[in-house]
């Protein structure tokens, strides 16, 4: 059982965007009834068949590490969080579609996870400018997820979708729209964690 390979995926995003709900949904196939504030990091595991149905089928454990907090936290919290960022195979960035600022913070989240500095003070070295090149040579794949789509009033949905289209271009990543109270499970198919 434990001899299966493992894949470690970080789930990052601002407080209250729905990371814990997402992880619970993916791993337990149920909607999370009483969401509570994530203190520290909560992990959940999903058994996934990679390339199901083909001769190269292989079963993996996907560990989803759901790290709580906000980008603007105190540096003591940031340096403690950095402990969880070791040997990461993939990152899921979650933002809230009803809250513009959560998508703006995603860039800082990805920087924090990718450019983790191993110095004890946990200082993140970056000049703050957005640089697409950083993601081009980066071996860690990213997945962007927007939540709470059903909480947006009907007339605003198209402009929200346009905004998120730009966002996914910036990150050069795949984008899925998830609805809370999830009915359409087929849209979730972790066929591959690598983008082409």
């Amino acid at each position: 059982m434990a001899s299966l390979d493992r894949v470690k995926v970080l789930v990052l995003g601002d407080s209250g965007v729905g990371k814990s709900s997402l992880v619970h949904l993916l791993c337990q196939n149920q909607v999370l009834g009483n969401p509570s504030w994530t203190v520290g990091c909560s992990v959940d595991v999903r058994v996934q068949d990679y390339k199901e149905g083909t001769p190269e089928e292989k079963t993996y454990y996907i560990e989803l590490w759901d790290v709580g907090g906000s980008v603007g936290s105190a540096s003591s919290i940031k340096s403690t969080r950095a402990v969880f960022y070791n040997s990461v195979n993939g990152i899921i960035l979650v933002h809230d579609l009803t809250n513009k600022k959560s998508s703006q913070n995603l860039y800082r989240w990805s920087l924090e996870a990718l450019n983790k500095d191993s110095s004890p003070t946990g200082v993140i070295v970056s000049n703050g400018d957005y640089d697409r090149e950083q993601f081009a040579e980066n071996p860690v794949p990213l997945l962007l997820i927007g939540t709470k789509f059903d909480q947006i009033p009907e007339n605003k949905r198209s402009e929200v979708l346009t905004r998120t289209a730009f966002l996914s271009e910036d990150f050069n990543a795949e984008e899925i729209n998830l609805m809370t109270g999830f009915t359409d499970r087929k849209r979730f198919n972790f066929k591959s964690l690598h983008y082409d």
């Binding site: 059982m1 434990a2 299966l4 601002d14 407080s15 209250g16 791993c27 009483n34 969401p35 509570s36 504030w37 994530t38 203190v39 520290g40 990091c41 909560s42 992990v43 959940d44 595991v45 999903r46 058994v47 454990y61 560990e63 907090g69 906000s70 980008v71 603007g72 936290s73 105190a74 540096s75 003591s76 919290i77 340096s79 403690t80 402990v83 969880f84 009803t98 809250n99 513009k100 600022k101 959560s102 913070n105 004890p120 003070t121 946990g122």
Partner: protein
């Protein structure tokens, strides 16, 4: 003509304050969250603007700027607006937002909001009953009732806050209270944290794999419902599910442990940073200030106890006494009355500015839940706080609430000022109440600003 000019000046300044409050709201309090309900923002900015205007009016009163009739008019206007906002608008909105967050009452939220407001008014009224305010000159529903209640509540709240701040400040500043934390301590704790996480992961893997095998064998336990299911479960015992529940309990315990370890690590990191900071020059300066303030605090507590026990009422405030001492003992000659007034005024100004600054900083700390105390975070996490509590409504409640405190403070301040140079004759007897509070404040040693008959005649 001058009235028009004065009004223009007043309104411009009000608009400026409004703008500042708005900006502060957007930039500081809600940096990470998009504001959707503009009502809240408007109320916040209006409250802020009017309280700053009151403060400005006090300054004008002391400096003698603008004509006194226009001052009087603006004064009354401000007072009425602020009381209106404070007693009617704010509690109603707070009640409304709280009620909207509770799912059960969602449909009739207006009704319940009104009920909450009436409860608030009832308690507010009851609070003022023991005060010696009622007199045959004024009826029940007069403005004096409101002002006096607000004033007294404000004084008490401010005293509590100041007391807390005074004790907290040396504790934060002084390095005497810092534990000694080394890098190896932190590393050891981090290693324990990661080990715990690994244990959690391996247990969860077992659970996931067992579930998957059960599902593949068709023993999906979620399908066992009804009488037939119960009978079936008795005859063919499902050892898988028993194992699962055992492991699940272990996982829960480990998760709790990991949370505790995380919080401890954060604590250690924070302490380490504080130690590093205390080694700098700024740190040493604050350390010294901490010692100074703690000695001052102890002295003040001692004096206050003596004053209350022996029922002494101080007649002069520290500034005037200080000046008297310098005049008498050091032989430096200067006009006591003139200087004491201005120095007290400057001191009061400094106190007000620093308390506003402290309040605004506290507001920003409260808003970023992880920047604030981690104990709150831990408490909330443990009690399974409902997610939507972090919605706009709840977040805004708190700054508004704290802002009420500032408001009350302003009212208290202005009443103290008006005490000496008051053109409002019909507010005359409210001041008796304030005199009582005044005396107690002296006992507690708060430096009070006293106009010494500066010649501003009542209009």
């Amino acid at each position: 003509m001058s009235f028009l000019v004065d009004s223009v000046i007043m309104f411009t300044s009000q608009v400026l304050f409004f703008g500042f409050g708005w900006l502060f709201f957007m930039r500081q309090l809600f940096k990470d969250y998009e504001v959707r309900r503009y009502v809240v923002q408007v109320v916040f900015s209006v409250t802020f603007a009017f309280s700053c205007t009151m403060f400005e009016l006090i300054i004008f009163e002391i400096l003698g700027a603008l004509s006194s009739s226009s001052r009087y008019f603006h004064w009354k206007l401000n007072l009425y607006v602020i009381l209106l906002v404070l007693i009617f608008v704010v509690p109603f909105y707070i009640g409304y937002f709280v009620v909207s967050n509770i799912r059960l009452l969602h449909r009739q939220r207006l009704l319940f909001a009104c009920m909450v407001w009436f409860t608030f008014m009832y308690f507010f009224w009851k609070l003022g009953d023991p005060f010696p305010i009622l007199s045959p000159k004024h009826g029940i529903l007069s403005i004096e009732q409101l002002i006096s209640r607000v004033g007294v509540i404000g004084v008490t709240l401010m005293a509590l806050l100041s007391g807390f701040g005074a004790v907290n400040c040396p504790y934060t500043y002084m390095s005497y209270f810092l534990r000694n934390v080394t890098d190896s301590d932190i590393l050891a704790l981090e290693r324990r944290l990661l080990q715990t996480m690994d244990m959690i992961v391996s247990k969860k893997k077992r659970i996931a794999m067992t579930r998957r095998q059960m599902y593949q064998r068709g023993e999906d336990q979620n399908k066992q419902t009804g009488l037939w299911g119960m009978i079936k479960s008795v005859t063919s015992p499902q050892t898988g599910s028993e194992n699962l529940s055992l492991i699940q309990q272990e996982v829960d315990a480990l998760e709790e442990l990991s949370r505790q370890l995380f919080l401890e690590t954060v604590d250690l990191q924070a302490t380490k940073e504080r130690i590093e900071y205390s080694k700098t020059f700024q740190g040493k300066y604050f350390n010294f200030l901490g010692y100074f303030f703690s000695i001052y605090c102890v002295w003040k507590i001692f004096m206050a106890t003596i004053n209350i026990v022996f029922d002494r009422v101080g007649k002069t405030d520290p500034v005037t006494r200080g000046i008297e001492i310098t005049v008498n003992y050091l032989g430096i000659q200067f006009d006591v009355k003139f200087w004491s007034q201005h120095i007290s005024f400057i001191l009061v100004g400094i106190i007000i500015v620093t308390s506003i600054r402290g309040l605004l900083i506290t507001l920003t700390k409260v808003q970023s839940p992880q920047g604030g105390t981690l104990e709150i975070m831990e408490w909330v996490g443990k009690r399974n706080a409902y997610g939507p509590w972090r919605t706009l409504a709840k977040q805004v409640k708190r700054p508004l609430f704290l802002f009420i405190v500032v408001l009350l403070r302003y009212i208290k301040q202005q009443i103290f000022q008006r005490h000496r140079a008051c053109p409002c004759s019909d507010h005359g007897h409210v001041l008796c109440v304030i005199r009582v509070a005044d005396a107690h404040e002296h006992a507690a040693g708060v430096p009070l600003h006293r106009h010494r008959g500066s010649g501003r005649a009542a209009v």
